[in-house]
Amino acid sequence: LAKTTQPISMDSYEGQEVNITCSHNNIATNDYITWYQQFPSQGPRFIIQGYKTKVTNEVASLFIPADRKSSTLSLPRVSLSDTAVYYCLVGDHPSGGYNKLIFGAGTRLAVHP
């Protein structure tokens, strides 16, 4: 399974756009890229998934370059409630349903007033 690397922590302010980049140099042809969000004392929550180019939903956008060796989660106009840990995962099944999800330490995003 491809290993991912992402920043340990990030700080932002309310109303700003936040971009969290994840490196996955050994991504395989069949791998999808999935992002989860985790608030303190809660389980992780699926945010977005993509295979290539750009994916957008009501919460975030995911940008994946042509070589797929990295991806960027973009959170538009963050609020204090976006303070959480964000995990980037790579696996060879959509949404990691049948595959083992390998979580790294994630990126701790702190949004300030």
Partner: protein
Amino acid sequence: EAEVAQSPRYKITEKSQAVAFWCDPISGHATLYWYRQILGQGPELLVQFQDESVVDDSQLPKDRFSAERLKGVDSTLKIQPAELGDSAMYLCASSIGGEQFFGPGTRLTVL
């Protein structure tokens, strides 16, 4: 909105005691997962069920941990005996072949 239920939410026990956690997945979800999350780290998969069968328990410390899903619905994770290093959040998740939905977790403290 359907959710994964877990109980208890918090458990404090002494080392060498036995503890058990319960998980009720979202109705109809055939796949159930147990994860352990140590403070400051990401969740680590302990065991994965497909219906009542174990499909992956490679990271489950089988000398002290056991998991069952007898009727392919709810599941129990047991630790016996508990050790200090078992203090962590134990998360249950379920899926129907797609996105994994996580429960709120059980925070275990071993004294």
